[in-house]
């Protein structure tokens, strides 16, 4: 499953199996099709062994009977061929380059990068490989880390660099690379009690300026909205390997709840690798509907889209516990949401002096 020493032959073998299956169906006079697990909230199941949410058994069919299916199958063939070539030529490409490569596929070209990214994920799911095994990598990550944590990164020239994420970096912190596996990043030592993953850059900077990492012996990680795979993987490694507890500190709106879910429970989109990305012990200390009331925070009115998102979360199995149910329902009742920076109502230090200590105490972290 992981990006081990010699993944290439396995990935290629798995991809060839897909082409073989399509070929055999055509040869047998059948309508070619592929079966894939449905990537919907209705088809994610809690895995008791790993404590994360993974795809269930429901499958969908991608068949050449319909235009969309036929086009996707043809794109799949093109992508298999392209990946095969990259592996053979020892090249790699970004997901965006992959999308532009399809410009040369005539009618089979992708309509959007979203489409090509999803197909790459489909291939991961079928082959149980990672897109890195297919020589595909994301664009950029650049999520930032500040805290007393020392790592060793192998740079592009193969040189090993030792970096302390507090002393060896500027105010914008250590930038997480897209590959955070142990061949690239080794976790050496730390002097911290917990990881705090922060949704917005503004709040990350506030905590940095207020010296929260030092005062509370914490490692600050900027999530940059919905966190990239590498950010989530990095957090999970810190949690597993360094035994550091993780908290997520987000805005108080439906989208922020989903950010926490993808860090802690596993995202629907990447449920095939939840085991590898999710940190099941992560605690939510972001703004809740109750916080809005208790701290009397400045708010915005929920938009129609917000309300739809909250309602969808009520039927999302990942939010099916008493805490989330109460908070989501309260938010739907009050129809109010708040940003984490709304805490500035009580001064710039309120978040670090009052709010976070209170929430961290409740969560049993300090």
């Amino acid at each position: 499953m992981k990006n081990e020493d010699k993944p290439t032959p396995l990935a290629l073998e798995k991809l060839t199996e897909i082409a073989d299956s399509i070929y055999k169906q055509l040869e047998g006079g059948d309508i070619p099709k592929m079966s894939l697990p449905l990537r919907t909230k209705g088809n994610i199941k809690f895995d008791n062994r790993s404590n994360v949410w993974k795809y269930g058994r429901a499958t969908g069919i991608r068949s050449a009977k319909k235009a969309v299916g036929a086009y996707m199958l043809l794109r799949t063939m093109h992508m298999l061929e392209f990946i095969g070539e990259m592996i053979g030529n020892l090249k790699s490409s970004t997901l965006r380059e992959m999308y532009y490569i399809s410009e040369g596929w005539g009618k089979a070209k992708f309509n959007s990068q979203d489409e090509s990214d999803k197909l790459a994920e489909d291939l991961e799911i079928i082959t149980k490989c990672l897109r890195e095994d297919f020589k595909l990598r994301p664009e950029e990550d650049g999520a930032r880390v500040i805290g007393n944590l020392t790592i060793e990164e192998t740079d592009r020239k193969g040189k090993k660099k030792r970096i302390n994420c507090r002393d060896d970096v500027g105010d914008s912190g250590y930038s997480i690379p897209y590959n955070v596996e142990s061949d690239k990043v080794r976790l050496l030592s730390n002097d911290a009690d917990f990881i705090i993953a922060i949704e917005t850059g503004g709040m990350f900077d506030r905590l940095v300026e207020n010296g929260f990492d030092e005062d509370f012996r914490s490692v600050l990680v900027h999530l940059k909205g919905q966190p990239a795979r590498s950010t989530r993987r990095f957090i999970k490694r810190l949690n597993e390997e360094l035994k550091l507890p993780v908290v997520t500190f987000t805005d108080g709106d439906p989208w922020s709840f989903r950010i926490h879910a993808s860090v802690a429970y596993g995202a629907i989109k990447t449920a095939h690798i939840s085991e590898y990305l999710a940190t099941p012990t992560a605690e939510f200390i972001g703004i809740t509907a109750s916080d809005i009331l208790n701290y009397d925070l400045p708010t915005d009115k929920l938009s129609d889209v917000d309300i739809k998102a909250l309602e969808a979360e009520l039927t999302d199995p990942r939010f099916r516990d008493a805490f989330w149910k109460t908070e989501i329902e309260t938010m739907l009742e009050t129809k109010k949401k708040a940003e984490q920076q709304a805490l500035a109502k009580y001064g710039l230090d309120f978040v670090t002096d009052t709010y976070l200590p209170e929430k961290l105490t409740q969560a049993g972290i300090i």
Binding site: T59, I61, V68, A70, L80, K107, R258, S262, A312
Partner: protein
């Protein structure tokens, strides 16, 4: 000493018709200055069209509006009609309820003879100016040029200027024609209810007329005629006794030249024979020999009752002159062509019918698509005896009939299935009759009489079904195009790529193609032979499934033009009303059968789209034709439930982008 009654009687004086209308101008449609302009032009144009048609002249009408000041406009309407003799000019234009049409029972634009003189009067009341009339008849060398006003108290025209002149237009002597020029208090607007729209609408139903219009800014627009053929002249008929009112009967009894009641009945009414006249007299218990003048009110009522209780032949309907299906289409194309509509539903002219003794007839047409606005209510073009109706849309039988149809079934949007539908469409309805029931004297809306509503409904549904058939065809064609794309473009590439990746030979995909298509595919088309004036239609049926197929193919065609000898292959049945049915037995996989037929003496565009239906086969396996409509009275195939399929992966994925 005078009694109070005598006192009152002295104060009562006769109110002339003109005076009455002066005080109640809204009755004639002059209730706003915007409307006044349109109504005035409408009256003049109606007069011109009627005059031209009576004289069998192809109408050439020009309308010019110029601005006098903020509140006053000057209008001139000129035609190439027969002209009016000098002696009649004052009466025709300056006397209310005077006209040649008032006593005639037939279909005509103006009915009460109120129109043009009301315009003269409105002009006089609002501007104090006289109306100028110029007219020339072919027999005379000089033209008359008069100016007249109306003495409203006496309902008499008074000529204030009387002159002759030699009429030339563009350096050419005018042979015959009339020009009316008047000033009026008015407001000029553009938009849905405007002079332009009125003239455009007029041009649609008068494809034999050339109408040009010069607006106050001096821009001239011309609607060229689309046909050189004049509509058949409306025939004058005597009134039919059904629907006769007591007042009319008494008047007719008083003025008739007949000396005997039975002769009066036979000669003054249509469809009354000697036998029927006698039967009426007997039933009314009035002597057949009684002098009509001596019939008492009591007896007149008895005669009316007797008429109601006597079986009388329906009135003759040949006095109606519909525009006709072909000319409606051409008129619509002529005027709407610039919007490039994608489809003109085959217009429908219903057979004539009768309400309250009055023959009437309904015509309808629907235009769809192109650059017609798709986010607005459909445009409704209402016509009464070839005259566009612009006002009181909601009160009109036409609008009500349209609103009560569930257009969603025919491919237009409509909230809740009632009301005016939305979509890129124009709906045209023309009601014609010797006596149209209007909701008011201003003749702006047709009264919703149940029989008329029913005929409108039938005409509209026929057009609507035609539209739906077109839309279905369009949809199935695009569905078929998708399948063809899969099997001809995508699938071969999948086969090629997979074999290239595996370095194996390209597999044969023909069996897969049949499985993907799995339809009986029907394509139809029409070829027009301009020389022979023949439209040749073909319906190709191809069995794209892996099994033998059996089905019946039906085509609905205009029966009068169908060349029965041209139908190939031998049809199982051809009905009088133009339904052809082929029974295709044992169509082998990949076999093609082409069914053809020809229509004679057709103009181009008369028949441009086939109406093809199928039966005796599961409609789900057919692309390109609809199952037979239920009301054709033939048992149709029950729709099978769609097979249960596994979830489509690419349709279930929508939530993914949220995280």
């Amino acid at each position: 000493m005078a009694t109070i009654a005598e006192e009152l009687a002295r104060k009562q004086r006769e109110i002339s018709v003109s005076e009455f209308f002066e005080r109640n101008r809204q009755i004639l449609g002059f209730d706003s200055t915007v409307k006044a302009l349109i109504v005035a032009i409408k009256e003049a144009v109606d007069n011109s069209l009627d005059a031209c048609e009576e004289a069998s002249v192809l109408p050439e009408i020009s309308v010019t509006i110029s601005k006098v000041d903020q509140n006053e406009y000057r209008v001139s309407v000129r035609d190439n009609g027969p002209g009016v003799v000098r002696a009649q000019m004052p009466n025709v234009f300056g006397r209310l309820l005077y006209g040649s049409r008032f006593h005639a029972i037939r279909q005509s634009r103006g009915q009460q003879g109120i129109g043009i003189s009301a315009v003269v009067m409105y002009s006089q009341i609002t501007t104090g100016k006289a109306t100028r009339i110029r007219s020339k008849i072919a027999e005379s060398d000089v033209s008359n040029d008069i100016e007249l006003t109306i003495d409203t108290k006496k309902n008499r025209p008074s000529v204030v200027k009387d002159d002759h002149f030699i009429w030339e237009e563009g350096g050419k002597r005018v042979d015959h024609g009339t020009l009316i020029e008047f000033s009026l208090a008015a407001r000029y607007v553009t938009g849905r209810q405007s002079v332009m729209e009125y003239l455009r609408s007029t041009a649609v139903v008068n494809p034999h007329a050339t109408i040009s219009y010069t607006d106050p800014e001096g821009r001239t627009y011309t609607f060229q005629r689309a046909t050189e053929t004049l509509p058949p002249k409306a025939v004058e008929v005597k009134p039919h006794p059904y629907g006769l009112e007591i007042g009319t009967l008494i008047n007719m009894l008083a003025y008739t030249q007949e000396k005997k009641l039975s002769l009066f009945l036979r000669n003054e009414f249509s469809r009354i024979s000697d036998r029927v006249a006698k039967e009426i007299c007997e039933k009314a218990m009035v002597s057949a020999d009684r002098r009509p003048k001596d019939v008492s009110l009591q007896q007149a009522k008895a005669i009316l009752d007797a008429i109601g209780g006597t079986k009388i032949m329906a009135p003759q309907t040949d006095c109606l002159s519909p525009i006709g299906e072909s000319l409606i289409k051409r008129g619509l194309k002529n005027v709407l062509g610039s919007l490039r509509p994608e489809f003109y539903a085959q217009p429908v002219t219903r057979p004539p019918s009768v309400y309250s003794g009055n023959p009437y007839q309904v015509e309808a047409g629907v235009v769809y698509g192109g650059e017609l606005a798709s986010d607005q209510p459909v445009a409704i073009m209402r016509y009464a005896n070839r005259v566009p109706l612009l006002y009181q849309q909601g009160a009109c039988a036409i609008t009500q009939a349209i609103s009560s149809i569930d257009w969603r079934r025919y491919g237009l949007e409509q909230r809740g299935g009632t009301g005016i539908p939305y979509g890129p469409a124009v709906i045209l309805v023309h009601v014609l009759s010797t006596k149209l029931p209007f909701t008011s004297e201003s003749k702006e809306a047709i009264a919703p009489i149940p029989q008329i509503m029913e005929e409108i409904d039938l005409a509209l549904r026929a057009c609507a079904r035609n539209l739906k058939s077109h839309l279905n065809k369009k949809e199935t064609k695009s569905k078929a195009a998708v399948k063809f794309d899969i099997v001809t473009e995508i699938l071969p590439k999948i086969a090629e790529k997979s074999s290239k990746i595996l370095q194996r030979p390209v597999p044969d995909i023909s069996r897969t193609i049949t499985k993907i298509m799995n339809v009986v595919f029907i394509e139809d088309g029409v070829d027009y032979d301009a020389k022979k004036k023949v439209a040749k239609a073909s319906v190709r049926v191809r069995n794209y499934t892996s099994r033998k197929q059996e089905l019946k193919v039906h085509a609905l065609v205009p029966p009068a033009e169908l060349d029965r000898g041209s139908i190939y292959p031998e049809p199982e049945e051809v009905s009088e009303d133009g339904k052809i049915m082929w029974n295709l037995k044992k169509l082998q996989p990949l076999e093609v059968v082409e069914c053809t037929f020809s229509l004679k003496s057709m103009e181009r565009d008369d028949y441009s789209e086939n109406e093809v239906y199928i039966s005796d086969i599961n409609p789900a396996t057919v692309i390109g034709a609809d199952p037979l409509p239920g009301d054709w009275g033939i048992k149709t195939f029950e729709l099978e439930e769609a097979e249960v399929e596994e979830a489509d992966y690419d349709e279930e994925e929508s939530e993914l982008s949220e995280e």
